[in-house]
Assembly symmetry: C2
Homo-oligomer: 104 residues x 2
């Protein structure tokens, strides 16, 4: 699915880490919410409220998921999940385009 | 208008200048196209094909429009127009969130 159709987009971006991470909210008719975002190279820690499914559209990152000891390499086309009410660390190696789905 | 409703969003971002400028395409039912984008601090030159109306949602930039000698300061809430088939220079002073409308 290359496009999201019949959606609502919040005009203003969410801006984090001095703009090194930015995203825009996309709302679906069925109540689903996703964000489409860009991460510039750097290291970040993100907390979650809902469970998140992160789809890396392009770019290269390494992630450390809650309760894990090993960093995982994730590239464009890959997806990873983060439990609700947790946090994960991410090292962004190259400019990364992502789509985050919030579940539950 | 804080949200664009009943629109189509192209999932993948447009990535320019090593990710320092990124945008996403929003398509409207009537054929209108806009992009929502982020510019990191830096200096850029952009060419236009269609006439563009640039709305700065937040941030601070200075622009040099075609045929002008003086840089104009533009801040969040301001809008400027760029003629079709031209180019303009922009100095982005702070992380800038924008909405670009393509006319004609």
């Amino acid at each position: 699915m290359n496009k999201f159709e019949n959606v609502t987009v919040v005009k203003a971006a969410n801006i984090y880490f001095d703009g090194k991470v930015t995203s825009r909210v996309v709302e679906f008719d069925n109540g689903d919410v996703k964000t489409l975002g860009i991460m510039m190279p750097g290291e970040y820690r993100f907390g979650t409220e809902k469970k998140e499914i992160m789809e890396i559209l392009s770019g290269q990152v390494e992630i450390l998921l809650p309760g894990e000891d090993l960093w995982r390499k994730i590239a464009g086309g890959d997806t990873f999940e983060v439990p609700a009410d947790s946090a994960f660390d991410i090292k962004v190696m190259t400019v990364t385009d992502y789509c985050c789905s919030y579940i539950g």
